[in-house]
Protein backbone atom coordinates (compact mmCIF):
# COMPACT_ATOMS: atom_id res chain seq x y z
CA UNK A 1 0.00 0.00 0.00
CA UNK A 2 3.03 2.28 -0.03
CA UNK A 3 2.88 5.18 -2.42
CA UNK A 4 5.01 5.46 -5.58
CA UNK A 5 8.73 5.73 -5.18
CA UNK A 6 10.88 8.57 -6.50
CA UNK A 7 12.28 8.49 -9.96
CA UNK A 8 16.04 8.73 -10.33
CA UNK A 9 17.49 12.19 -10.77
CA UNK A 10 18.74 13.80 -13.94
CA UNK A 11 21.57 16.26 -14.42
CA UNK A 12 19.39 19.28 -13.95
CA UNK A 13 17.96 17.99 -10.66
CA UNK A 14 21.43 17.09 -9.51
CA UNK A 15 22.65 20.64 -10.08
CA UNK A 16 19.65 22.02 -8.26
CA UNK A 17 20.30 19.85 -5.24
CA UNK A 18 23.98 20.79 -5.25
CA UNK A 19 23.02 24.44 -5.29
CA UNK A 20 20.72 23.81 -2.35
CA UNK A 21 23.50 22.08 -0.46
CA UNK A 22 25.69 25.11 -1.10
CA UNK A 23 22.95 27.44 0.12
CA UNK A 24 22.70 25.36 3.25
CA UNK A 25 26.45 25.65 3.80
CA UNK A 26 26.40 29.42 3.40
CA UNK A 27 23.62 29.74 5.94
CA UNK A 28 25.37 27.39 8.37
CA UNK A 29 28.63 29.35 8.28
CA UNK A 30 26.81 32.66 8.55
CA UNK A 31 24.66 31.47 11.45
CA UNK A 32 27.54 30.11 13.52
CA UNK A 33 29.78 33.08 12.80
CA UNK A 34 27.14 35.58 13.87
CA UNK A 35 26.36 33.64 17.03
CA UNK A 36 30.06 33.11 17.72
CA UNK A 37 28.92 29.67 18.80
CA UNK A 38 27.64 26.45 17.30
CA UNK A 39 28.67 23.18 15.69
CA UNK A 40 29.90 24.00 12.23
CA UNK A 41 31.89 20.92 11.16
CA UNK A 42 29.12 18.39 11.70
CA UNK A 43 26.54 20.64 10.07
CA UNK A 44 28.62 21.11 6.91
CA UNK A 45 29.31 17.38 6.56
CA UNK A 46 25.57 16.61 6.19
CA UNK A 47 24.65 19.28 3.63
CA UNK A 48 24.21 16.94 0.65
CA UNK A 49 22.33 14.42 2.78
CA UNK A 50 19.91 17.09 3.96
CA UNK A 51 19.55 18.65 0.53
CA UNK A 52 18.75 15.32 -1.11
CA UNK A 53 16.27 14.35 1.58
CA UNK A 54 14.39 17.62 1.90
CA UNK A 55 14.40 18.70 -1.73
CA UNK A 56 14.08 15.35 -3.42
CA UNK A 57 13.51 12.11 -1.51
CA UNK A 58 11.11 13.10 1.27
CA UNK A 59 7.61 14.39 0.66
CA UNK A 60 8.23 17.03 3.35
CA UNK A 61 7.83 19.96 0.91
CA UNK A 62 4.35 18.83 -0.06
CA UNK A 63 3.14 19.14 3.52
CA UNK A 64 4.42 22.58 4.48
CA UNK A 65 0.86 23.68 5.10
CA UNK A 66 -0.06 20.45 6.82
CA UNK A 67 2.98 19.55 8.88
CA UNK A 68 0.98 17.53 11.38
CA UNK A 69 -0.18 15.05 8.75
CA UNK A 70 0.89 11.46 9.40
CA UNK A 71 1.51 11.15 5.64
CA UNK A 72 4.39 13.58 5.85
CA UNK A 73 7.86 12.05 5.97
CA UNK A 74 9.56 12.83 9.25
CA UNK A 75 13.18 13.91 9.76
CA UNK A 76 14.74 13.25 13.13
CA UNK A 77 18.04 15.05 13.65
CA UNK A 78 19.33 12.76 16.38
CA UNK A 79 22.75 14.41 16.15
CA UNK A 80 21.01 17.52 17.43
CA UNK A 81 24.12 19.70 17.64
CA UNK A 82 23.95 19.95 13.82
CA UNK A 83 21.01 22.29 14.41
CA UNK A 84 22.36 24.90 11.95
CA UNK A 85 21.75 22.31 9.26
CA UNK A 86 18.05 21.89 9.98
CA UNK A 87 17.60 25.61 10.55
CA UNK A 88 19.19 26.38 7.17
CA UNK A 89 16.70 23.98 5.57
CA UNK A 90 13.70 25.46 7.39
CA UNK A 91 14.73 28.96 6.34
CA UNK A 92 15.11 27.78 2.73
CA UNK A 93 11.63 26.27 2.95
CA UNK A 94 10.21 29.47 4.38
CA UNK A 95 9.05 27.86 7.64
CA UNK A 96 11.47 29.99 9.64
CA UNK A 97 11.92 33.70 9.01
CA UNK A 98 15.26 34.67 7.45
CA UNK A 99 15.92 37.23 10.19
CA UNK A 100 16.21 34.43 12.71
CA UNK A 101 19.42 33.28 11.02
CA UNK A 102 21.36 36.03 12.77
CA UNK A 103 19.65 35.32 16.07
CA UNK A 104 20.77 31.68 16.32
CA UNK A 105 21.67 30.91 19.97
CA UNK A 106 20.73 34.47 20.82
CA UNK A 107 18.37 35.13 23.74
CA UNK A 108 16.29 37.34 21.44
CA UNK A 109 15.83 34.68 18.78
CA UNK A 110 13.81 31.48 18.46
CA UNK A 111 16.55 29.23 17.07
CA UNK A 112 17.86 27.34 20.07
CA UNK A 113 21.36 25.84 20.23
CA UNK A 114 19.81 22.43 19.73
CA UNK A 115 16.53 22.03 17.83
CA UNK A 116 13.42 22.76 19.87
CA UNK A 117 10.17 21.64 18.30
CA UNK A 118 8.09 23.75 20.62
CA UNK A 119 9.64 27.01 19.47
CA UNK A 120 10.62 26.21 15.89
CA UNK A 121 8.05 25.16 13.31
CA UNK A 122 9.16 22.23 11.22
CA UNK A 123 11.39 20.57 13.81
CA UNK A 124 10.20 17.02 14.53
CA UNK A 125 12.16 16.36 17.70
CA UNK A 126 13.77 18.50 20.39
CA UNK A 127 17.21 16.95 20.37
CA UNK A 128 20.44 17.51 22.25
CA UNK A 129 21.33 14.50 24.31
CA UNK A 130 22.97 12.14 21.83
CA UNK A 131 21.52 8.72 21.33
CA UNK A 132 17.94 9.60 22.14
CA UNK A 133 16.59 10.70 18.77
CA UNK A 134 16.79 7.19 17.34
CA UNK A 135 14.58 5.87 20.18
CA UNK A 136 12.10 8.65 19.48
CA UNK A 137 12.11 7.71 15.79
CA UNK A 138 11.50 4.09 16.78
CA UNK A 139 8.35 5.19 18.60
CA UNK A 140 7.05 7.01 15.54
CA UNK A 141 7.82 3.93 13.44
CA UNK A 142 5.81 1.74 15.82
CA UNK A 143 2.84 4.12 15.84
CA UNK A 144 2.92 4.44 12.06
CA UNK A 145 2.97 0.67 11.54
CA UNK A 146 -0.06 0.45 13.82
CA UNK A 147 -1.85 3.21 11.89
CA UNK A 148 -1.08 1.53 8.58
CA UNK A 149 -2.52 -1.72 9.90
CA UNK A 150 -5.73 0.27 10.35
CA UNK A 151 -5.60 1.45 6.74
CA UNK A 152 -4.14 4.91 7.37
CA UNK A 153 -1.29 5.91 5.10
CA UNK A 154 1.78 7.18 6.91
CA UNK A 155 5.10 8.68 5.89
CA UNK A 156 8.60 7.36 6.39
CA UNK A 157 10.99 8.34 9.13
CA UNK A 158 14.50 9.46 8.23
CA UNK A 159 16.97 9.66 11.11
CA UNK A 160 20.37 11.35 10.90
CA UNK A 161 22.87 10.11 13.47
CA UNK A 162 26.54 10.84 14.07
CA UNK A 163 29.46 8.44 14.37
CA UNK A 164 30.46 9.79 17.77
CA UNK A 165 26.82 9.39 18.70
CA UNK A 166 27.07 5.68 17.94
CA UNK A 167 29.21 5.35 21.04
CA UNK A 168 26.08 5.92 23.14
CA UNK A 169 24.60 2.63 24.33
CA UNK A 170 21.06 3.82 23.73
CA UNK A 171 21.73 3.89 19.98
CA UNK A 172 22.25 0.14 20.08
CA UNK A 173 19.11 -0.36 22.16
CA UNK A 174 17.19 1.44 19.43
CA UNK A 175 18.98 -0.39 16.60
CA UNK A 176 18.03 -3.73 18.14
CA UNK A 177 14.43 -2.65 18.61
CA UNK A 178 14.01 -1.24 15.08
CA UNK A 179 15.30 -4.47 13.62
CA UNK A 180 13.37 -6.75 15.96
CA UNK A 181 10.14 -4.85 15.34
CA UNK A 182 10.77 -4.92 11.55
CA UNK A 183 10.35 -1.17 11.29
CA UNK A 184 11.28 -0.79 7.61
CA UNK A 185 9.60 2.60 7.62
CA UNK A 186 12.70 3.93 9.39
CA UNK A 187 15.72 4.85 7.29
CA UNK A 188 18.84 5.67 9.29
CA UNK A 189 21.65 7.73 7.84
CA UNK A 190 25.02 7.81 9.54
CA UNK A 191 27.00 10.98 8.90
CA UNK A 192 30.34 9.21 9.15
CA UNK A 193 32.77 12.13 9.25
CA UNK A 194 35.24 10.32 11.50
CA UNK A 195 35.75 13.21 13.90
CA UNK A 196 34.25 14.04 17.28
CA UNK A 197 34.96 16.74 19.86
CA UNK A 198 38.12 15.29 21.35
CA UNK A 199 39.62 13.97 18.15
CA UNK A 200 39.24 11.26 15.52
CA UNK A 201 36.56 8.71 16.30
CA UNK A 202 38.97 5.88 15.59
CA UNK A 203 41.29 7.20 18.30
CA UNK A 204 38.64 7.95 20.93
CA UNK A 205 36.33 4.93 20.63
CA UNK A 206 36.43 3.22 17.26
CA UNK A 207 33.01 2.20 15.97
CA UNK A 208 34.32 0.20 13.00
CA UNK A 209 33.75 -2.25 11.44
CA UNK A 210 30.39 -0.53 11.46
CA UNK A 211 28.87 -2.14 8.39
CA UNK A 212 29.52 -5.63 9.76
CA UNK A 213 27.89 -4.67 13.03
CA UNK A 214 24.80 -3.30 11.33
CA UNK A 215 24.44 -6.33 9.11
CA UNK A 216 24.65 -8.47 12.24
CA UNK A 217 21.88 -6.35 13.76
CA UNK A 218 19.66 -7.19 10.78
CA UNK A 219 19.98 -4.08 8.63
CA UNK A 220 20.05 -3.69 4.90
CA UNK A 221 23.21 -1.61 4.63
CA UNK A 222 24.34 0.89 2.03
CA UNK A 223 27.88 2.29 2.15
CA UNK A 224 28.28 5.39 0.01
CA UNK A 225 29.97 8.73 -0.53
CA UNK A 226 27.87 11.09 1.56
CA UNK A 227 28.65 14.05 -0.67
CA UNK A 228 27.58 12.42 -3.92
CA UNK A 229 24.03 13.64 -4.44
CA UNK A 230 23.33 11.32 -7.34
CA UNK A 231 24.47 8.40 -5.22
CA UNK A 232 22.42 9.54 -2.22
CA UNK A 233 19.30 9.95 -4.33
CA UNK A 234 19.65 6.61 -6.07
CA UNK A 235 20.39 4.89 -2.75
CA UNK A 236 17.24 6.27 -1.13
CA UNK A 237 15.38 5.23 -4.26
CA UNK A 238 16.82 1.72 -4.12
CA UNK A 239 15.90 1.43 -0.45
CA UNK A 240 12.27 1.99 -1.31
CA UNK A 241 12.40 -0.43 -4.25
CA UNK A 242 14.05 -3.18 -2.21
CA UNK A 243 11.62 -2.56 0.60
CA UNK A 244 8.59 -2.90 -1.65
CA UNK A 245 9.93 -6.17 -3.00
CA UNK A 246 10.46 -7.59 0.47
CA UNK A 247 7.03 -6.44 1.63
CA UNK A 248 5.41 -8.10 -1.37
CA UNK A 249 7.39 -11.25 -0.75
CA UNK A 250 6.29 -11.40 2.86
CA UNK A 251 2.69 -10.63 1.99
CA UNK A 252 2.50 -13.27 -0.71
CA UNK A 253 4.23 -15.95 1.23
CA UNK A 254 1.73 -18.67 1.98
CA UNK A 255 3.54 -20.20 4.92
CA UNK A 256 3.08 -18.43 8.23
CA UNK A 257 6.43 -19.50 9.57
CA UNK A 258 8.03 -18.10 6.46
CA UNK A 259 10.93 -16.48 8.24
CA UNK A 260 10.70 -13.47 5.99
CA UNK A 261 11.50 -10.47 8.10
CA UNK A 262 11.13 -6.91 6.91
CA UNK A 263 14.47 -5.15 7.18
CA UNK A 264 15.11 -1.57 8.17
CA UNK A 265 17.76 0.30 6.18
CA UNK A 266 20.99 1.88 7.29
CA UNK A 267 22.95 4.22 5.02
CA UNK A 268 26.59 4.74 5.93
CA UNK A 269 27.31 8.11 4.37
CA UNK A 270 31.06 8.63 4.29
CA UNK A 271 31.61 12.33 4.73
CA UNK A 272 34.19 14.95 5.53
CA UNK A 273 33.70 17.05 8.60
CA UNK A 274 33.63 20.71 7.61
CA UNK A 275 33.10 19.83 3.95
CA UNK A 276 32.80 22.79 1.62
CA UNK A 277 35.26 25.07 3.37
CA UNK A 278 38.81 24.02 2.53
CA UNK A 279 40.50 24.91 5.82
CA UNK A 280 37.72 23.30 7.85
CA UNK A 281 37.70 19.98 6.03
CA UNK A 282 38.67 16.94 8.09
CA UNK A 283 39.89 19.28 10.82
CA UNK A 284 39.26 18.39 14.48
CA UNK A 285 39.20 22.07 15.42
CA UNK A 286 35.85 22.71 13.75
CA UNK A 287 33.55 20.48 15.81
CA UNK A 288 32.15 23.26 17.96
CA UNK A 289 34.37 26.19 17.17
CA UNK A 290 33.02 29.38 15.56
CA UNK A 291 35.02 31.15 12.83
CA UNK A 292 36.45 34.62 13.43
CA UNK A 293 35.90 37.43 10.94
CA UNK A 294 38.83 36.56 8.72
CA UNK A 295 37.94 32.88 8.66
CA UNK A 296 34.31 33.75 8.02
CA UNK A 297 35.15 35.92 5.01
CA UNK A 298 37.44 33.29 3.59
CA UNK A 299 34.78 30.60 4.04
CA UNK A 300 32.01 32.65 2.47
CA UNK A 301 34.27 33.53 -0.49
CA UNK A 302 34.89 29.88 -1.15
CA UNK A 303 31.21 29.00 -0.90
CA UNK A 304 30.08 31.90 -3.06
CA UNK A 305 32.62 31.07 -5.74
CA UNK A 306 31.77 27.39 -5.86
CA UNK A 307 30.83 26.30 -9.36
Amino acid sequence: MRKEVNKKIDNQKNKKLEKEANNIRKRVVDMVYTAKSGHIGGSLSSAEIASTLFFHTMNYKEYLKDLSSHKRDKFILSKGHASPLIYAILIELGLVDEKEQHLFRNIEGILQGHPDKLSTLGVDYSAGSLGQGLSFATGIGIAYKYEESKGNECGDIYVLIGDGEMQEGQIWEALMAISNFELDNIIIILDKNNIQLDGKTEDIMNIDPIEDKLKAFGYETYNIDGHDIEKLASTFHKIKEDREKLREKKKNSKIKENNIKLKPSFVIANTIKGKGVSFMEDNIKWHGYAPNEEEYNKAMDELKNKK
Binding site: S126, G133, S135, F136, I140, Y146, G169, E173
Partner: protein, 309 residues
Protein backbone atom coordinates in the same frame (compact mmCIF):
# COMPACT_ATOMS: atom_id res chain seq x y z
CA UNK B 1 -9.27 -5.59 51.97
CA UNK B 2 -5.67 -5.03 50.91
CA UNK B 3 -4.27 -4.39 47.49
CA UNK B 4 -1.03 -3.04 46.09
CA UNK B 5 -1.40 0.09 43.97
CA UNK B 6 0.50 -1.62 41.15
CA UNK B 7 -2.37 -4.07 40.88
CA UNK B 8 -4.84 -1.20 40.69
CA UNK B 9 -2.76 0.12 37.81
CA UNK B 10 -3.08 -3.14 35.89
CA UNK B 11 -6.84 -3.13 36.44
CA UNK B 12 -7.38 0.46 35.37
CA UNK B 13 -5.27 -0.05 32.24
CA UNK B 14 -7.58 -2.90 31.29
CA UNK B 15 -10.53 -0.55 31.71
CA UNK B 16 -9.25 2.55 29.92
CA UNK B 17 -7.37 0.44 27.39
CA UNK B 18 -10.32 0.10 25.08
CA UNK B 19 -9.56 3.64 23.94
CA UNK B 20 -7.56 2.97 20.76
CA UNK B 21 -5.50 6.07 21.38
CA UNK B 22 -3.77 4.49 24.35
CA UNK B 23 -0.43 2.70 24.06
CA UNK B 24 1.54 1.05 26.85
CA UNK B 25 5.27 0.38 26.86
CA UNK B 26 7.32 -1.71 29.27
CA UNK B 27 10.88 -2.96 29.61
CA UNK B 28 10.64 -6.64 30.49
CA UNK B 29 8.82 -6.05 33.78
CA UNK B 30 5.25 -6.29 32.57
CA UNK B 31 4.29 -9.10 34.94
CA UNK B 32 5.65 -7.09 37.86
CA UNK B 33 4.39 -3.65 36.84
CA UNK B 34 1.10 -5.25 35.78
CA UNK B 35 1.13 -3.64 32.34
CA UNK B 36 0.96 -7.26 31.22
CA UNK B 37 -2.75 -7.10 32.04
CA UNK B 38 -3.18 -4.50 29.27
CA UNK B 39 -1.01 -6.57 26.95
CA UNK B 40 -3.34 -9.55 27.20
CA UNK B 41 -6.30 -7.50 26.01
CA UNK B 42 -4.65 -5.11 23.56
CA UNK B 43 -1.41 -6.66 22.32
CA UNK B 44 -1.32 -4.50 19.18
CA UNK B 45 -0.97 -1.38 21.34
CA UNK B 46 1.56 -2.80 23.77
CA UNK B 47 5.32 -2.62 23.27
CA UNK B 48 7.86 -4.55 25.30
CA UNK B 49 11.33 -3.26 24.49
CA UNK B 50 13.26 -5.70 26.64
CA UNK B 51 15.73 -4.48 29.26
CA UNK B 52 16.31 -1.06 27.72
CA UNK B 53 14.66 1.65 29.80
CA UNK B 54 16.19 4.66 28.08
CA UNK B 55 15.04 3.33 24.72
CA UNK B 56 11.62 2.63 26.21
CA UNK B 57 11.14 6.23 27.31
CA UNK B 58 12.29 7.58 23.94
CA UNK B 59 9.93 5.20 22.18
CA UNK B 60 7.08 6.30 24.43
CA UNK B 61 7.75 9.89 23.46
CA UNK B 62 7.92 9.04 19.77
CA UNK B 63 4.61 7.20 19.87
CA UNK B 64 3.04 10.09 21.79
CA UNK B 65 4.26 12.55 19.15
CA UNK B 66 1.89 10.92 16.67
CA UNK B 67 -1.07 11.88 18.85
CA UNK B 68 -1.37 8.93 21.21
CA UNK B 69 -1.50 8.82 25.02
CA UNK B 70 1.33 6.61 26.20
CA UNK B 71 1.90 4.87 29.52
CA UNK B 72 5.51 3.88 30.17
CA UNK B 73 6.36 1.68 33.12
CA UNK B 74 9.22 0.08 34.98
CA UNK B 75 10.45 -0.09 38.58
CA UNK B 76 10.90 3.39 40.01
CA UNK B 77 14.67 2.95 40.14
CA UNK B 78 15.10 2.07 36.48
CA UNK B 79 12.47 4.44 35.15
CA UNK B 80 13.52 7.60 36.96
CA UNK B 81 17.10 6.62 37.71
CA UNK B 82 18.50 4.93 34.68
CA UNK B 83 16.26 6.67 32.17
CA UNK B 84 16.37 10.06 33.86
CA UNK B 85 17.95 11.86 30.90
CA UNK B 86 15.48 10.33 28.48
CA UNK B 87 12.61 11.48 30.69
CA UNK B 88 14.04 14.96 30.94
CA UNK B 89 14.95 15.46 27.28
CA UNK B 90 12.62 13.21 25.32
CA UNK B 91 9.51 13.56 27.49
CA UNK B 92 9.59 16.72 29.62
CA UNK B 93 11.47 19.01 27.23
CA UNK B 94 9.49 17.73 24.25
CA UNK B 95 6.35 18.12 26.40
CA UNK B 96 5.21 14.65 25.35
CA UNK B 97 1.93 13.03 26.30
CA UNK B 98 3.69 10.30 28.26
CA UNK B 99 2.48 9.15 31.67
CA UNK B 100 5.39 7.56 33.45
CA UNK B 101 4.04 5.08 35.97
CA UNK B 102 6.53 3.32 38.19
CA UNK B 103 6.05 0.51 40.63
CA UNK B 104 8.14 -0.91 43.48
CA UNK B 105 8.57 2.53 45.01
CA UNK B 106 11.14 2.96 47.76
CA UNK B 107 11.42 0.16 50.27
CA UNK B 108 8.52 -1.74 48.68
CA UNK B 109 11.09 -3.33 46.37
CA UNK B 110 11.90 -5.18 49.61
CA UNK B 111 13.90 -8.36 49.07
CA UNK B 112 15.61 -7.14 45.91
CA UNK B 113 17.53 -4.78 48.17
CA UNK B 114 19.09 -1.34 47.98
CA UNK B 115 19.89 -1.25 44.26
CA UNK B 116 16.16 -1.66 43.57
CA UNK B 117 14.79 0.49 46.41
CA UNK B 118 14.42 3.91 44.80
CA UNK B 119 14.20 6.64 47.43
CA UNK B 120 15.05 9.69 45.34
CA UNK B 121 12.43 9.57 42.59
CA UNK B 122 9.96 12.05 44.04
CA UNK B 123 12.81 14.51 44.41
CA UNK B 124 14.07 13.96 40.86
CA UNK B 125 10.70 14.18 39.19
CA UNK B 126 9.29 17.14 41.08
CA UNK B 127 12.22 19.39 40.24
CA UNK B 128 11.85 18.73 36.53
CA UNK B 129 10.04 21.42 34.49
CA UNK B 130 6.85 20.23 32.75
CA UNK B 131 6.61 17.20 35.04
CA UNK B 132 3.81 16.54 37.53
CA UNK B 133 4.16 14.04 40.36
CA UNK B 134 1.46 11.88 41.95
CA UNK B 135 1.76 9.30 44.73
CA UNK B 136 -1.66 7.70 45.30
CA UNK B 137 -2.24 5.69 48.45
CA UNK B 138 -4.84 3.12 47.51
CA UNK B 139 -6.88 1.37 44.85
CA UNK B 140 -9.55 4.01 44.28
CA UNK B 141 -7.25 7.00 44.28
CA UNK B 142 -4.77 5.30 41.93
CA UNK B 143 -7.51 4.60 39.42
CA UNK B 144 -8.92 8.11 39.80
CA UNK B 145 -5.53 9.74 39.17
CA UNK B 146 -4.85 7.61 36.12
CA UNK B 147 -8.27 8.43 34.67
CA UNK B 148 -7.70 12.14 35.28
CA UNK B 149 -4.33 12.04 33.55
CA UNK B 150 -5.77 10.45 30.43
CA UNK B 151 -7.83 13.61 30.00
CA UNK B 152 -4.80 15.81 29.35
CA UNK B 153 -1.79 15.63 27.05
CA UNK B 154 1.00 16.59 29.40
CA UNK B 155 3.80 14.60 31.01
CA UNK B 156 3.25 13.10 34.46
CA UNK B 157 4.94 10.73 36.91
CA UNK B 158 2.91 8.37 39.07
CA UNK B 159 4.67 6.46 41.82
CA UNK B 160 3.09 3.13 42.80
CA UNK B 161 3.96 0.46 45.26
CA UNK B 162 4.38 -3.26 45.63
CA UNK B 163 3.18 -3.10 49.24
CA UNK B 164 -0.36 -4.22 49.89
CA UNK B 165 -2.29 -1.42 51.54
CA UNK B 166 -5.83 -0.87 52.79
CA UNK B 167 -8.49 0.20 50.32
CA UNK B 168 -8.88 3.49 52.11
CA UNK B 169 -11.41 5.11 49.81
CA UNK B 170 -13.76 2.24 49.00
CA UNK B 171 -16.74 4.22 50.24
CA UNK B 172 -15.74 7.53 48.75
CA UNK B 173 -16.70 8.92 45.37
CA UNK B 174 -13.71 9.11 43.04
CA UNK B 175 -14.70 12.65 42.03
CA UNK B 176 -13.09 13.85 45.23
CA UNK B 177 -9.63 13.25 43.77
CA UNK B 178 -8.24 16.12 41.73
CA UNK B 179 -4.80 16.82 40.33
CA UNK B 180 -3.21 19.31 42.72
CA UNK B 181 -5.47 18.40 45.61
CA UNK B 182 -5.17 16.29 48.78
CA UNK B 183 -7.50 14.46 51.15
CA UNK B 184 -7.83 15.06 54.89
CA UNK B 185 -8.87 12.37 57.34
CA UNK B 186 -10.17 13.79 60.61
CA UNK B 187 -9.94 17.14 62.29
CA UNK B 188 -7.49 16.48 65.12
CA UNK B 189 -5.40 19.39 66.32
CA UNK B 190 -2.61 17.78 68.28
CA UNK B 191 -0.73 16.66 65.20
CA UNK B 192 -1.10 16.94 61.47
CA UNK B 193 0.43 13.90 59.77
CA UNK B 194 1.24 14.42 56.12
CA UNK B 195 1.78 11.21 54.18
CA UNK B 196 1.70 9.80 50.67
CA UNK B 197 1.59 6.36 49.12
CA UNK B 198 1.77 3.47 51.58
CA UNK B 199 2.56 5.75 54.52
CA UNK B 200 -1.04 7.00 54.43
CA UNK B 201 -2.26 3.60 55.61
CA UNK B 202 0.39 3.69 58.34
CA UNK B 203 -0.71 7.17 59.38
CA UNK B 204 -4.38 6.16 59.56
CA UNK B 205 -3.46 3.20 61.76
CA UNK B 206 -1.44 5.51 63.99
CA UNK B 207 -4.38 7.92 64.16
CA UNK B 208 -6.63 5.23 65.62
CA UNK B 209 -4.05 4.13 68.19
CA UNK B 210 -3.25 7.65 69.27
CA UNK B 211 -6.96 8.39 69.70
CA UNK B 212 -7.05 5.75 72.42
CA UNK B 213 -4.46 7.76 74.28
CA UNK B 214 -6.50 10.94 73.78
CA UNK B 215 -4.13 12.31 71.17
CA UNK B 216 -6.17 13.70 68.28
CA UNK B 217 -4.47 13.84 64.92
CA UNK B 218 -5.53 14.40 61.35
CA UNK B 219 -3.95 12.69 58.34
CA UNK B 220 -3.34 14.41 55.02
CA UNK B 221 -3.11 12.13 52.01
CA UNK B 222 -0.82 14.26 49.86
CA UNK B 223 -1.32 12.24 46.69
CA UNK B 224 -0.40 15.20 44.52
CA UNK B 225 3.21 16.19 45.20
CA UNK B 226 3.54 18.55 42.28
CA UNK B 227 1.35 20.52 41.95
CA UNK B 228 0.84 20.43 45.70
CA UNK B 229 -2.17 21.48 47.76
CA UNK B 230 -0.62 24.50 49.46
CA UNK B 231 -3.93 25.63 50.92
CA UNK B 232 -4.47 22.41 52.84
CA UNK B 233 -0.90 22.34 54.10
CA UNK B 234 -1.31 25.87 55.45
CA UNK B 235 -4.70 25.09 56.95
CA UNK B 236 -3.18 22.11 58.71
CA UNK B 237 -0.23 24.16 59.97
CA UNK B 238 -2.55 26.79 61.38
CA UNK B 239 -4.96 24.38 63.02
CA UNK B 240 -2.55 21.79 64.37
CA UNK B 241 -0.01 22.17 67.15
CA UNK B 242 2.54 20.06 65.31
CA UNK B 243 3.23 18.71 61.84
CA UNK B 244 5.06 15.56 60.86
CA UNK B 245 5.70 14.08 57.42
CA UNK B 246 6.21 10.40 56.78
CA UNK B 247 7.43 9.04 53.42
CA UNK B 248 8.84 5.92 51.81
CA UNK B 249 11.55 8.14 50.36
CA UNK B 250 14.63 10.13 51.29
CA UNK B 251 14.01 12.89 53.83
CA UNK B 252 15.81 15.16 51.38
CA UNK B 253 13.88 16.44 48.40
CA UNK B 254 10.61 14.54 48.73
CA UNK B 255 7.42 15.07 50.72
CA UNK B 256 9.13 16.63 53.76
CA UNK B 257 10.96 19.14 51.57
CA UNK B 258 7.81 19.92 49.61
CA UNK B 259 5.86 20.67 52.80
CA UNK B 260 8.69 22.79 54.22
CA UNK B 261 8.86 24.82 51.01
CA UNK B 262 5.20 25.70 51.34
CA UNK B 263 5.36 26.59 55.02
CA UNK B 264 8.53 28.64 54.67
CA UNK B 265 6.80 30.71 52.04
CA UNK B 266 3.69 31.55 54.05
CA UNK B 267 3.73 30.21 57.59
CA UNK B 268 7.09 29.02 58.90
CA UNK B 269 6.62 26.20 61.38
CA UNK B 270 8.73 23.33 62.58
CA UNK B 271 8.07 20.13 60.66
CA UNK B 272 9.05 16.74 62.07
CA UNK B 273 9.99 14.05 59.63
CA UNK B 274 10.18 10.30 59.08
CA UNK B 275 11.92 8.92 56.01
CA UNK B 276 15.07 7.37 54.64
CA UNK B 277 18.53 8.71 55.27
CA UNK B 278 20.59 5.92 53.72
CA UNK B 279 20.36 3.20 51.11
CA UNK B 280 17.89 0.42 51.92
CA UNK B 281 18.38 -3.25 52.70
CA UNK B 282 17.04 -6.64 51.67
CA UNK B 283 14.21 -8.22 53.63
CA UNK B 284 10.48 -8.93 53.60
CA UNK B 285 8.66 -5.67 53.12
CA UNK B 286 7.21 -5.47 56.64
CA UNK B 287 10.67 -6.20 58.07
CA UNK B 288 12.38 -3.59 55.90
CA UNK B 289 9.90 -0.85 56.78
CA UNK B 290 10.29 -1.82 60.44
CA UNK B 291 14.08 -1.76 60.21
CA UNK B 292 14.08 1.77 58.86
CA UNK B 293 11.33 2.87 61.29
CA UNK B 294 8.84 3.81 58.59
CA UNK B 295 5.80 2.24 60.26
CA UNK B 296 2.68 3.22 62.20
CA UNK B 297 4.52 2.06 65.37
CA UNK B 298 7.40 4.43 64.74
CA UNK B 299 4.95 7.21 63.98
CA UNK B 300 3.00 6.65 67.20
CA UNK B 301 6.19 6.53 69.24
CA UNK B 302 7.62 9.68 67.69
CA UNK B 303 4.41 11.63 68.15
CA UNK B 304 4.11 10.56 71.79
CA UNK B 305 7.76 11.42 72.43
CA UNK B 306 7.23 14.91 71.04
CA UNK B 307 3.99 15.53 72.92
CA UNK B 308 5.19 14.21 76.26
CA UNK B 309 8.60 15.81 75.95
Amino acid sequence: MKKATRNSYGEILEEIGKDENIFVVDADLSSSTKTGMFQKLYPERFVNVGIAEANMVGIASGIASTGKTVFASSFAIFLTGRAYDSIRQSVAYNNSNVKLVSTHAGLSASQDGATHQMIEDISLMRTMPNMRVFVPSDDKSTKAIIKLLVQDEKPAYVRLSRTETENIYDNINEDVFKLGSSYTHGMGRDFGIIACGETVSMALEAKERLKQEKIEVRVLDMYSIYPIDEENILKTARECDNIITIENHSIRGGLYSSVCEVLCKYYPKKVYKIGMNSFGKSGKDTDVFKYFKITSDALVKKIKDIIYD
